[in-house]
Symmetry: C2
Subunit: 355 residues, 2 copies
Amino acid sequence: MTAQLDNDLLLRALLRQPTERTPVWMMRQAGRYLPEYRATRQQAGSFLDLCKHTELACEVTLQPLERFPLDAAILFSDILTIPDAMGLGLYFAQGEGPKFERPVRTEADIQRLPVPDPGAELRYVTDAVSLIRRELKGRVPLIGFTGSPWTLATYMIEGGSSKNFAHAKGMLYDRPELMHRLLDKLAQSVTSYLNAQIAAGAQALMMFDTWGGILTPAAYREFSLRYAEQIIAGVTKHHEGRDVPLVFFTKNGGAWLEDMATIGAHGLGIDWTQDLGDARRRVGDRVALQGNLDPSILYASPDVIRREVGTVLRSYGHGHGHVFNLGHGIHPEVDPEHAGAMIAAVHELSPQYHG
Amino acid sequence: MTAQLDNDLLLRALLRQPTERTPVWMMRQAGRYLPEYRATRQQAGSFLDLCKHTELACEVTLQPLERFPLDAAILFSDILTIPDAMGLGLYFAQGEGPKFERPVRTEADIQRLPVPDPGAELRYVTDAVSLIRRELKGRVPLIGFTGSPWTLATYMIEGGSSKNFAHAKGMLYDRPELMHRLLDKLAQSVTSYLNAQIAAGAQALMMFDTWGGILTPAAYREFSLRYAEQIIAGVTKHHEGRDVPLVFFTKNGGAWLEDMATIGAHGLGIDWTQDLGDARRRVGDRVALQGNLDPSILYASPDVIRREVGTVLRSYGHGHGHVFNLGHGIHPEVDPEHAGAMIAAVHELSPQYHG
């Protein structure tokens, strides 16, 4: 059976089917730039408390949809839920980003990592997905998400964010077989995590490869792309009578689009350092493209935002297969009205490129 | 008259003339990974004190040449000397990187910026260049350097390093005419600064465009590349009977190599996210290439370092026009012996690609 969807533009665009206009959503659309998010966050306590509180996670997921005519909701969560469920002790230090109490450095560390059961340690995520789906009442599709194995591995090995990735790169170059064992365990974990999100109601998926772009071309193929492909091969392709499209996004990965287009993803995320028209010519008709407005353009005035939305739409050009988005998450200091100006411009300017 | 040079491999490689092996130097080769640098730095006081102390700046410039068979020295200095000479009040906050007491935000701020006289406010730089040249005694060429106008502008507008570049991007998109006025003033300043370095004895030049890679392709051409080209047009081309080659390096700029190859630079810096062989095919015989070992490979063991040096050399392939370097500055935590292993491997493995 196919659950009713009032607006399925996102799903059609990702499957490269015709749409009457270009769908639009924003990475981090439920986030700190919204005063209502900051209020709920304060009520919840820590960021992680908010992720783990089913009703409040649902509330913040829906907040941007109350303000803006967006074409998708995306689960409010964090990419580091899997390493947390593996027992590494995730916490967020004030102003320092995510940290792990127990980083992964040795063969024994990797050996003892469990593949988490999404029905147990990650139940709070699938509970949130189910509740959000119910509350969405079919308005727009719900996107589930994960970090890529390589990106999760960098945080797990470094114990948090990093500038030079000394430990992760050291393991990659000195002990590649260990790195592969870790990545394989993560790929298994991500696959069952995504399938649990689909079973709970996610209708599209995103895989964020935030740190793939710090690798050499050869290391990217061996340590990042290969595991993304392994996951995609294992992810449920149809559910509730519909295809479940997946978008793969490597930040700063523009040099490797041809390779990314071969791993079975329906769409690729494109950051703003690429010309979208060039990217389209390079991937041909193999995948849809999602992006790619420079998120910093939202610091500028609404007139400029409208003009730059026009530039992105014109760059992609006529025809289907484009999902409008920022080239990265929306910055916390952005005025919500500027986000609104971007979304309105997509509604207004994109129909001319369709039909 | 041509001053004697015992080793001119770097100059010949940048001019795409035959060499018997691939020359090698390292970005930040005079720096914190060397215990002798840390000792001199402690003696000098702050980082800026060290830059401004002629004898000590000369001493740290020469330190890596005492340890390793490098094919170039590079002036020890900072890219932010020009904004400092413009009166912005450069200082280095512990663990926070460079800061300016008086950032540039308004039309009036830009209006009142002087174009510094390199013979006055920047005399400490040319004094250091002269002394280093004298102390080098013709062993290897001395490289002078600068930041690109766009990169300098980001620090001046943000007041230091930045994650999202809210102010700089805001000005670029909202007040492009103001941004152009600032960049033009910086281009004039950089041109006379580089010419003063050449007059004092610099035999090759590098222009670091550290933040060009955060721009869209269109903004990169308009706000970064255009001013690099303007500077190159105004820089002294021959001095002491020799060509003075210039290398332009945009970090994360791999998507735009074809454009960069047209601005008159003799060489382009390539970071490790590009395959060097692909880069060579894309630029053809228009420019030499400098790079591109992932600096994190120096965290790995000497055997692995040697193997990866081989991969970079093989990727560039046979023929002239390659200067071996890291894809970015050497990390401060690297064991100096690992740097030595890299340099030895270039000496040993590169001759087979020449002659």
